[in-house]
């Protein structure tokens, strides 16, 4: 991979549309500032997003709405402080018309101020706290919200998953608490019950004492949400204690069995049930083409849900610019993006015109070995799920 200031530029052949609508602005470049966590705690997400963006440009080129698109990627080091300054510089110095990226909630919220003041469309690729879309009227999201996933899991478990009593184990930080609250609410609304809420420290978690507690309480299942990397440690300790033979199921948020690390989790992960918006094994021609292109551009790397979200974010930018004839000004762009429907690798998605948040299918999946590799294999689809908190 070439190391350099990553200015990715390429084009979309949209001659039919562009020819008629974009005569006035054809000369001007639309700059899109992309703020990614390339270093720090969320760097694995940053890599996936960068890879997806590179793939998108390789497939679709660098033209949209009759204008050339220039993507400028900057690192926020996984901190809100730097995300804010980098976003400010992208808008004031680099004249970026659109901001995108943002790997965690504080980063997204810090930059939302610039979006609101400068009327800059801000497209969220990862940050999953429901309230982000309220922070600026120019925020759009192509990822997911924590409650969107957790609520579906809470509905599926008692209705179809044959699991009514739960112990929830979540990492003790904002997203973990959000997931716990949304899951509990949904589960109880559908006739289940959370008998205990366990909060695990975020840094260097040791799950042993918590799992001991689980052994004593004997729930039907566990609800688990830990950041992507910690899932492997959790499943390893779960199996070591023989809990996999106890009949207690593991039902997790998609992050736990993320495609990025699923293969390295090995056999302990087999059988874990999770709810999420995307699996690399999703069965559709769009996804097959996406995975093939992604692997080709990135040395066989497997895309995960963050990569799909980044892909869809760039797709949303291109499609919206096609619609506005290259006009990226905040009000016009966001109005055109509202209600947009994308033919995403994860299935059909749309932007809710009321909340500017994503509406998408949430799939229940089970980890299985397919042709020697571990995949989240989808077995139940909940269609067009909206964020339940809005």
């Amino acid at each position: 991979m070439i190391i350099r200031r990553t200015i990715l530029a390429a084009g979309l052949a949209v001659a039919a549309l562009a020819g008629t609508t974009a005569l006035a602005s054809a000369q001007e470049v639309v700059r899109v500032g992309i703020v990614l966590p390339m270093t720090g705690a969320f760097q694995s997400n940053g890599r996936q997003m960068q890879a997806a963006i590179r793939t998108y440009v390789a497939v679709h080129g660098d033209m949209a709405g009759g204008r050339k698109i220039e993507l400028i990627i900057r690192d926020d080091a996984s901190t809100a402080e730097q995300a804010l300054r980098v976003s400010q510089e992208l808008v004031t110095k680099d004249k970026a018309a659109i901001l995108a990226g943002f790997g965690n909630t504080p980063a997204a919220l810090s930059a939302a101020k610039i979006s609101a003041r400068g009327k800059i469309p801000q497209i969220i690729m990862v940050a999953a706290t429901a309230s982000i879309v309220d922070a600026s009227p120019y925020v759009l999201r192509t990822s997911w919200t924590t409650p969107q996933m957790a609520a579906v899991i809470g509905q599926w478990a008692p209705e179809e998953g044959d699991a009514k009593t739960f112990i929830s184990i979540v990492s003790d930080y904002g997203p973990g608490n959000d997931a716990d609250a949304a899951f509990t609410k949904s589960l109880e609304a559908h006739g289940g019950q959370v008998i205990d809420h366990l909060k695990v420290p975020l840094a260097n978690p040791d799950f042993a004492p918590f799992l001991q507690h689980v052994v004593e309480k004997k729930p039907d299942a566990l609800f688990v949400f830990v950041p992507t990397g910690a899932g492997a440690a959790f499943m390893k300790q779960f199996v070591e204690r023989g809990l996999d033979k106890s009949g207690i199921k593991v039902v997790a948020m998609a992050d736990v069995t993320d495609d990025d690390i699923l293969n390295s989790m090995g056999d302990p992960a087999v059988g874990v049930i999770s709810g999420g918006p995307y699996s690399a094994s999703h069965d559709s021609p769009q996804n097959a083409a996406f995975v093939a292109a992604f692997e080709k551009e990135n040395n066989g790397m497997r895309p995960n849900m963050v990569a799909v979200s980044a892909w869809d974010a760039i797709d949303l930018i291109y499609k919206t610019l096609d619609k506005t004839g290259g006009d990226a000004s905040g009000d016009v762009f966001v109005a055109a993006a509202k209600g947009a429907e994308l033919d995403s690798p994860r299935g059909p998605v749309s932007i809710d015109p009321d909340t500017r948040d994503i509406v998408q299918n949430i799939y229940m999946r089970e980890v299985k070995r397919v042709e020697g590799e571990l995949y989240n294999v989808e077995f139940r689809t909940y269609e067009a799920v909206k964020d339940p908190t809005h």
Binding site: D75, A77, R85, P106
Partner: protein, 337 residues
């Protein structure tokens, strides 16, 4: 009495005692350059604002490390509390910035004063642990008290009024930079007065040999409490300034990384002459920015490598360079006097 009575050492002492009181040409040039940056580098004001804030944090550390010999890995405690205090003050009381700075200073000073007594209990290693622990505890408190601080999502809804009712904080960061630079200068002048006062000399005595200092009648513990509290106020102001220029706070302000950044830039610039933090902050941030623009994914490797080389080549270099330049300038002038 007469100069001839003095031993060469005595004359040197007098010279050294007098030296820092006068503003040297190098110092004046430094601040003129800082003022010039306001007009000559309008495109860089955002990063310069961050540098000024980091410089104040490093200045607060210099007061305790460079002048009183107190090592700390927990300066983020006061910085973060100052930031949150200023943020909550802006949300719940008023968005007026200058009084917000005072609130940040008071909050930082209170935390520093309350925890300073822990510092009296041990030597360097204990102090490292204690300061680290205090910052870690406050971080966790802020994380848990989401109803007050916004927790991991950060504190939202801060709105800062124009400075003196005239200068609004703009998106390009011009106002923020001039404001930060002014605050840095004022704090620097105060620090300069303090360290060159009898109080400052007694601190240096404590730093060099606490036992001897107490033997000649310096109240060691009282001095340490006082300077740690002052340092806390400085760190609190740095935090408040961060809040006001960014109008957003995340838990990062209380993180270990923040303490480490402060200590690192002070080490780069060299402690004990007040300019170290500023020079270090400038060097570190500019290198970091250039590298992370050049290679967003691997810049930390290069920064790490540069730091290692820097330590191998010698940490005292920047300070020695400044001293040499100042000595040369003074030497030139001294001949004419």
């Amino acid at each position: 009495m007469a100069k001839t009575d003095m031993t060469p050492n005595g004359a040197k002492v007098v010279k050294i005692m007098r030296r820092p009181v006068r503003w040297s040409l190098a110092e004046i040039a430094f601040w003129l350059l800082a003022v010039a940056s306001v007009f000559l580098l309008p495109g860089q004001h955002l990063i310069l604002t961050e540098i000024a804030g980091l410089a104040i944090l490093a200045l607060s550390l210099d007061l305790i490390l460079g002048y009183a010999g107190v090592v700390s890995l927990g300066q983020a405690a006061m910085y973060g509390v100052g930031a949150y205090a200023a943020g909550l003050y802006a949300i719940h009381v008023t968005g007026e910035p200058l009084s917000g700075l005072l609130v940040g200073a008071a909050a930082g000073a209170v935390i520093a004063f309350a925890t300073s007594f822990l510092l009296l209990r041990g030597a360097d290693l204990t102090r490292l642990m204690v300061t680290l622990g205090v910052a870690a505890v406050l971080f966790e408190v802020a994380n848990k008290a989401a109803w007050l601080t916004g927790g991991a999502d950060g504190l939202q809804g801060i709105w800062i009024d124009p400075i003196l009712g005239l200068f609004d904080f703009d998106l390009e960061g011009h106002t923020g930079y001039v404001y930060s630079l002014t605050v840095l200068f004022v704090l620097f002048v105060i620090a300069r007065l303090v360290v060159n006062s009898p109080f400052g000399y007694s601190l240096k005595a404590v730093r060099d040999n606490p036992l001897r200092a107490s033997a000649v009648g310096v109240p060691v513990n009282a001095r340490l409490v006082a300077v740690y509290t002052l340092s806390g106020a400085y760190a609190g102001i740095a935090g408040a300034l961060f809040t006001q220029t960014q109008q957003f706070i995340s838990l990062d302000v209380l993180s270990f990384q923040k303490s480490a950044d402060g200590l690192m830039v002070l080490t780069i610039g060299g402690p004990g002459y007040l300019y170290g933090g500023m020079i270090g902050a400038l060097a570190y941030k500019l290198i970091q920015d250039a590298l992370s623009g050049f290679t967003p994914q691997y810049w930390q490797f290069w920064v790490g490598l540069l730091l290692v080389i820097f330590v191998l080549v010698g940490r005292d270099r920047p300070r020695q360079f400044v001293i040499d330049v100042m000595a040369r300038l003074r030497g030139g002038k001294g001949g004419a006097q």
